[in-house]
Amino acid sequence: MLLNQFLLLGAVLFSVGVYGVLARRNGVMVLMSIELMLNAVNLNLVAFGVQHNVVSGQVFALFIIAVAAAEVGVGLAIVLLLYRNRKSIAVDEFDLMKG
């Protein structure tokens, strides 16, 4: 079985996503990186589901896709409002909660 390859791909995708979330300044790029991480997890779920010959892996993946769609909707709305108020979507400029 090619499980190792899938897991490796998932790990790479996840790491790329993490890098994007932590390092990119553009808010839209952060959201896209989150999508990368979610899809890395989806890949893992489907791969394990096939490996164990159960369907629940794919069911979870579908759920995650649905939730991710909602999440990205809300996220893009926040980014839009941020841009309207501050004329910027650079996430490192928003530090009102600084202690």
């Binding site: 979330v21 932590l22 996430v91 490192d92 928003f94 530090d95 600084k98």
Partner: protein, 734 residues
């Protein structure tokens, strides 16, 4: 017989009533209804007392004198054993006495001799284990015999009538609940005292009635004279109480028991060897009698005690509590009889104190304007009469006089209360007068009671007074001539001063203000009952000679037959004199002469009027009487004054040099230790600890502050970094 064995119920019921009234009187029962509880309780007790009296009479008539009959449910072994032994030795003794005296003196009693000389065993119920100390068991119980039953009848009857009377007299008083609670407590305490089985219990009852007296004299304590009077009563009684305690201790030392029955039975066998101890005990107990029963020289509290409400004066300071001393003598009569050699002397301490008190009390009654004080001095005088009777060996006469006196003196006091109720709360006879038209019931009952007190035939006082005079004339082995003279003079004076009271109160013109009116039924009915008793109470101890013409000899000397504890008294050789018609006529003549002289003086306006203004000696005598023989002056100014100043100086020195120093040192030490605690414990340790915790938290917060950048990506880095570290640890460890 059940009632006699369970006599403890009799004091228990008013005690419960006291607690109920005190705790629930104002809240549950209602302040205007508490008198019903008191009256109900005393009513039940009155019925029980009557049952007890009936049971006792049946017991005497049956002649159930055997010791087997006396042991009740819880008799203590020791006292039972002794009771049997004592009964036997007592029996032998009295057989011997009968040989000596019976032929000569006892013939006059006819049918009663059979019962009178054998004597009926008292019913003793002992509940052991009140407490025990140093191997001595202090018991509590009841001793019921004829003497007890006589007092039960007196106390419960007067108490019941006073309860009823008070419901009107004290109505609307600010301390109505309190008043009834203490009336109940007094009744309970007096009954406990009367039935005391041992001397310790007797002291408890004695002190309890003293406390009730104190509380009720000071019932209206807002006014200074009332509190002064109650304190005076209490403190004067303390003087005598020391005598009581000393007397009881001596009796215990002599007889090794507190049991009254045992002591009375042991007296004849100890009399020879322990005469001195008995003498000292009797003298010490006489001091107690002097304070409680208002005998010279401790009688001064009794007139002041009239500051209390009038029904209280009638119940406590005329009929019951003040006879406690007389009753104690009667209860421990063998001790006094042997200790003071009553049988063989022609004058002794008790007879002299009694006679002298009777005389000075009667003298003082002339110089009083306060109607209650006249009656108070009359009470002092009559109590002196009773003590004198006991002093000359006339036991029955004294108790009979106690019995009759309780009724007519209570009637007089309640009459005085009724007069005061009508005449706008004054007791000053100068503001009365002419009340016979306005208050017919009070007037009639007052006159009846006065005739009884004066000793006019056929009222109750005549019979009892005559027996006392007879006792003094006959004496025991020798006559008591001085006592007879005292008795006759007092009989004359009593009639005279009581007639004076009637003149000032009920005759002449009304001198007060407002319109006097007759008192309501709740007050006049008790008056009529008491007046009725003042008429008929004398029939309970008629001499046989009076009854033989109508064929009722069997009814003669009932008080003597039933009340006299002959089982004790015969053992010491007490004898009864034969009645003397001449002496009775002399006594009656004296009473009538007293009334006649006063009648002439006031009604006919003859005699030396204004003598006290004209004659220097008469004026001095009157002043002497007005100042009560300067006895109060002697006590407060000379005795108390001379002791007070050095004690005050010594107390001041001790106060300045010892107590203040101790207090100052304690204060300074406390201040210093307070400072030390403030500096080191409070500021140093506690505050320091709290501050250290606070500043630690502050420093930690400042350190962690740097982490809160507000940038989401920093938080994300920390999150993923931590997760990565945790994952590595997870993998390595597992």
């Amino acid at each position: 017989m059940w009632m006699l064995e369970n006599a403890f119920l009799i004091p228990l019921i008013p005690a419960i009533s006291f607690v109920v009234i005190l705790l629930f009187g104002r809240s549950v029962i209602g302040a205007d209804r508490v008198h019903r509880v008191g009256i109900a309780a005393v009513g039940i007790v009155w019925v029980l007392s009557m049952i007890a009296a009936a049971a006792w009479i049946v017991r005497v008539e049956d002649g159930t004198a055997g010791p087997d009959d006396t042991d009740s449910h819880a008799l203590v072994g020791v006292s039972e054993g002794y009771a049997a032994a004592g009964a036997m030795s007592g029996g032998e003794n009295l057989a011997a006495e009968d040989d000596g005296h019976g032929v000569v003196e006892d013939d006059g009693h006819g049918a009663d001799d059979g019962h009178g000389s054998t004597g009926t065993e008292p019913v003793i119920s002992t509940f052991s284990g009140w407490w025990s100390n140093a191997g001595v068991d202090f018991t509590v119980g009841t001793l019921v015999d004829g003497t007890t039953v006589l007092l039960l009848i007196v106390v419960t009857s007067i108490s019941l009538l006073v309860h009823v009377y008070s419901s009107e007299y004290v109505k609307g008083d600010r301390r109505f609940v309190h008043y009834y609670a203490f009336l109940s407590l007094f009744t309970a305490a007096m009954l406990l005292f009367v039935m005391a089985q041992n001397l310790v219990q007797m002291i408890v009852g004695w002190e309890l009635v003293g406390v009730c007296s104190f509380v009720l004299i000071g019932h209206w304590w807002e006014e200074r004279p009332n509190t002064d009077a109650s304190l005076k009563a209490f403190l004067t009684n303390r003087v005598g109480d020391i005598g009581l305690i000393i007397g009881v201790i001596i009796l215990y030392g002599t007889f090794k028991t507190f049991d009254i029955d045992t002591i009375n039975r042991m007296v004849p066998e100890k009399a020879g060897t322990e005469h001195f101890a008995l003498l000292i005990a009797a003298i010490a107990l006489m001091a107690a009698v002097a304070s409680k029963s208002g005998q010279f020289p401790l009688h001064t509290w009794l007139p002041d005690a009239m500051a209390g409400p009038t029904p209280v004066s009638a119940l406590i300071h005329a009929a019951t509590m003040v006879v406690a001393g007389v009753y104690m003598i009667a209860r421990l009569y063998p001790v006094f009889y042997e200790g003071l050699s009553i049988g063989s002397s022609s004058i002794n301490l008790m007879a002299f104190i009694g006679g002298f008190t009777a005389l000075i009390g009667a003298g003082l009654a002339f110089a009083q304007w306060d109607i209650k004080k006249v009656l108070a001095y009359s009470t002092v005088s009559q109590l002196g009469y009773m003590v004198m009777a006991l002093g000359v060996g006339a036991w029955t006469a004294a108790m009979f006089h106690l019995f009759t006196h309780a009724f007519f003196k209570a009637c007089l006091f309640l009459g005085a209360g009724s007069v005061s109720h009508a005449a706008h709360h004054t007791f000053d006879m100068r503001e009365m007068g002419g009340l016979r038209k306005h208050m017919p019931h009070t007037y009639k009952t007052f006159v009846i009671a006065t005739l009884a007190l004066a000793g006019v035939f056929p009222f109750a006082g005549f019979w009892s007074k005559d027996e006392i005079l007879l006792g003094a004339l006959a004496g025991q082995q020798r006559a008591y001539p001085l006592m007879l003279i005292f008795g006759c003079v007092v009989a004359l004076m009593t009639a005279a001063y009581m007639t004076r009271v009637i003149w000032y109160t009920f005759w002449g013109e009304y001198r007060g203000h407002g319109h006097p009116h007759e008192s309501p039924k709740m007050m006049t009915v008790p008056l009529w009952i008491l007046a009725g008793m003042a008429v008929v109470a004398g029939v309970f101890n008629l001499p046989a000679g009076v009854l033989s013409p109508i064929g009722l000899e069997g009814f003669a000397h009932r008080v003597q037959t039933y009340a006299e504890p002959s089982i004790y008294l015969n053992a010491v050789g007490l004898s009864h004199p034969d009645p003397s018609l001449i002496l009775a006529l002399v006594g009656l003549a004296l009473a009538l002469a007293g009334i006649a002289i006063t009648f002439l003086y006031y009604w006919r306006n003859s005699g030396p009027h204004g003598l006290t203004e004209r004659n220097r000696y008469a004026k001095a005598g009157y002043t002497f009487l007005e100042n009560k023989y300067y006895l109060d002056r002697l006590y407060t100014d000379i005795i108390v004054g001379s002791i007070k100043a050095p004690i005050a100086r010594a107390a001041n020195w001790v106060n300045q040099n010892v107590i203040d120093k101790v207090v100052d040192t304690a204060g300074e030490t406390a201040r210093d230790s307070g400072r030390w605690v403030y500096r080191w414990i409070d500021q140093g340790t506690i505050d320091g600890g709290v501050n250290a915790i606070a500043s630690g938290a502050d420093a930690g917060g400042q350190g962690l502050r740097g982490m809160q950048t507000g940038k989401v990506q920093n938080y994300g880095s920390l999150l993923f970094g931590t997760a990565a570290v945790a994952a590595i640890v997870f993998v390595i460890v597992l």
